[in-house]
Each structure stands twice: as C-alpha cells, then as structure tokens.
Amino acid sequence: MTNQQNWPLWEVFIRSKQGLDHKHVGSLHAADAGMAMENARDVYTRRQEGVSIWVVESAHIHASNPEEAESFFDPANDKVYRHPTFYNLPDSLKNM
C-alpha cells in the first residue's frame, strides 16, 4: 500500500527572526509546494521558531561531492593573507 511515492521530498529553510538568514532545518514529504509550506509550518514552527519559510524540492538542489571536498576547496588553503591576522602591525596602531 504505497502512497507517498508521488509525494516528493522538500527541504525546509526557516528564518528564525527578521534580519537573519534562512537556515536549513530538515525535510518533509508533500504533494506540492503549498502543502509543503503548511506542513513545514506545523512540523517546524510550533513554537514560533520562524517568521519566514522556504521550501525547495530536494531534487532541485545541487550539492558538492564530499569525496572531492579536499581538492574542491583546495584553492583557499594557501591564502592566509586573506585574513587580517596575516599582517604584522605595531600595537600602537589603534582601531584597525
């Protein structure tokens, strides 16, 4: 007795309060975006955890491959000079 076969998986993102980013909170099944939204409200914001919800069909998300993470993120490895702490400045210099 299958039933949810046609119900796609949706990823749910919630903005917990005005001014903050939407953050991934979990996933759920629903027949369409409208129902996914209502389900997300009932499942993930029963205690006012959000002021805004995004739902995205999981199949539409492209993800980097964890197996290739090392080489994929490699270009940033040797560029410590992108951080302010790289620069040697005297303590007498204030507010920089």
Binding site: N3, L9, E11, V25, G26, D32, D42, V43, R46, N65
Partner: protein, 333 residues
C-alpha cells in the same frame, strides 16, 4: 564537480573495495574519533548505515505509536487546560516521528518502506506503548516516567556521530522538557487531592514504574551491540548507566509527590553514591517485545486503520497537486 543528486536522500554508492579495515573505514573511524559528524553522502560502513536505519526508524515508530495511549485521554481530559496541553504534547510526538523518519530517509530507506515494516510487524517500537492507559493519572505517570526515561536516553544522542540524527534529537530534546513537566504537574495535583485521587496517583506510578525502568533495554552484559555502537558514537552511555541515572532521579522526585516507587529493595547506597534497586522482570519485557503485551495487537491495528483511513486524503492531495500543475502549464503555454 557538483553533482545533481539529491543532497540528502541518495547515499553515495558504496565502493566494493571499501570493506572492513580498508582505508575508507579507517578514515571514517578517525572522523568519528575526532568528533566530526558523518553526513548523508559521506562514506560509511554498511553496518553503520544499517544500525542507524534500524535505530532511527524504531525510534520514529515509537514516537508515532506513542501517541495512541495518550490520545486515549484527550477527549476525557479533566479541564480545558489539561486538554490543550495534552493535545500539544501528542502533536509534538507526531512531529518527533516526522523529524526522525526524515533523518532515517537520508540513509537511503523510503518512508513507505519504514511504514510497511511497522505495519507488517517486522519493525519494533518501544515496548512501553503496549501498556494501557486506564485512568487520567496514567497521563501524568507517562509524562513523568516515560518521557523522563526517553529524555534520559535521548540527551546523549544529541551528540551522536550521524549529523541528521543528532540534529533531529536536539530539536526533540528541547520539546521534551515540557512533556515531563506537564506529567509531573498532573501527578502533583492528584497527590494533593482526595483520598481517591491519591490512590489513583499511586496506582498509576505502580503500573508505569517497571515498564519505564525496562525502557533502557537489557542489561549491559545482555546487549551485545553496545560496544560497536559506542565505538561509532551512536551510543554514548550503556543501558545500565542510563537506567541508574533514571532511578536516582525518580527516587528523589517521587518524594515531592509524597508517593512511593513500587520497589521494596529501592534504597540509597552511600558506598556507590546511587540507589540500589530490585531485579527487573525480563520475562515480561520479552513477552511484550515479542508481541504479547496487553495492547500490542490493539496498537498495531489502530496504526494500520489510521493509515488506511488516510488513504483517500493522500490520493486527494496528489490529485490536487497534479491538477494545479496542469493548470499552470496551460497558463504558461
């Protein structure tokens, strides 16, 4: 190279060369040892995956079946306040089931498969939910003892090595604390009531105590998978350690109720710094686990019936979505 696979659902195809003792397995264990989380598409040993699927889905089933004994009292709650809080609690349990089902799905099992396993009796759920709720006091005892034991079990899982399970558990634990408090408040009110209410309170504690103590599972020497689960950081404490904490906590809390736990051997042992307690009736535990508890058949048939009666709703939702999509296509065209 970015891949178009669903980021959560589809597990990485297992490399046949990655067997026990292989490089991949060593790297995996190193990550676990360093308290790094394992995420859905990371390589993992097949047994780790299977162990998690079993544990998370059983946990999800327990949340869902766990709604039944309490749902039994929603229409008969003694006041509007009690009714509102009980509904909120039962609704939370439904939410917990959903968080956990989706965590399990990230390991490659489908929702339908899990539901099928539950309904066909292949999957287990916590044996505690096969006991009946005979009086209103049982709702108090469940909140205090059953949710109390669940919290004791679940808090360490917030640090489980598998990311989606750990994150679901953080959410669940946050919500659980009100469950235990509402239960205790029910018992506290009864404990200050009439003689009949006090008797009802003690009777519920008597009936729920031992099944709650059994919720931690068999003794350590009888649970052969504990060592592996600890090594994988799926489990952080042994069954007996958690059980002892639970007994210690309840032995103190029951004094606030001016009630007793039904165990003549329960007493504080200063040399251990813990409460000693009497032997557990494991025969009863196995009877209930194997389907012969007081309500096993009733619980399962209630679940199956609810699922069957919801069939038309699921079909209607699917039909509605298809119709809307077709309409949209027409507008575009």
């Amino acid at each position: 190279m970015p891949t178009a696979t669903n980021p959560n659902k589809q597990p990485v195809i297992q490399d046949p060369a990655c067997q026990a003792g292989s490089d991949a397995e060593l790297r995996f264990q190193q990550k676990v040892d360093n308290d790094l989380k394992i995420e859905p598409r990371d390589w993992m040993p097949e047994k780790y995956r299977q162990t998690l699927i079993r544990q998370i889905s059983q946990h999800a089933h327990s949340e869902i079946v766990g709604m039944l004994p309490e749902g039994n009292w929603i229409t008969r709650a003694p006041s509007l306040r009690r009714k509102a809080t009980l509904i909120a609690k039962v609704q939370d349990e439904a939410g917990h089931g959903l968080y956990l089902y989706s965590a399990a799905e990230t390991l490659g099992i489908s929702r339908d498969e899990m539901i099928d396993q539950l309904h066909s009796g292949r999957a287990k759920y916590s044996s505690i939910f096969n006991y009946p709720t005979l009086t209103w006091a049982d709702i108090g005892a469940i909140g205090w003892l059953v949710d109390g034991a669940a919290i004791m079990n679940q808090v360490p899982i917030c640090r489980c090595s598998y990311g989606p399970y750990a994150r679901a558990m953080v959410r669940i634990c946050k919500e659980e604390s009100f469950h235990q408090r509402q239960g205790f408040e029910i018992l506290l009110t009864l404990s200050k009531g009439t003689e009949a209410q006090k008797r009802m309170c003690q009777d519920a504690i008597n009936r729920w105590w031992w099944p709650s103590v059994m919720m931690f599972g068999p003794h350590d020497e009888a649970s052969p998978h504990t060592a592996q689960s600890m090594k994988w950081k799926i489990k952080r404490f042994s069954n007996d350690e958690l059980r002892q904490r639970f007994v210690d906590m309840c032995a103190q809390q029951v004094k606030v109720l001016c009630m007793e736990l039904p165990d003549p051997e329960l007493r504080y042992n200063p040399s251990r710094g813990h409460y000693d307690f009497g032997p557990i009736d494991w025969q009863e535990f196995h009877q209930v686990i194997n389907g012969n508890g007081p309500c096993n058949r009733e619980r399962l048939s209630a679940r199956i019936r609810a699922h069957q009666e919801g069939q038309w709703v699921r079909e209607a939702a699917t039909a509605h979505a298809a119709k809307q999509a077709a309409k949209l296509e027409k507008q575009v065209a």
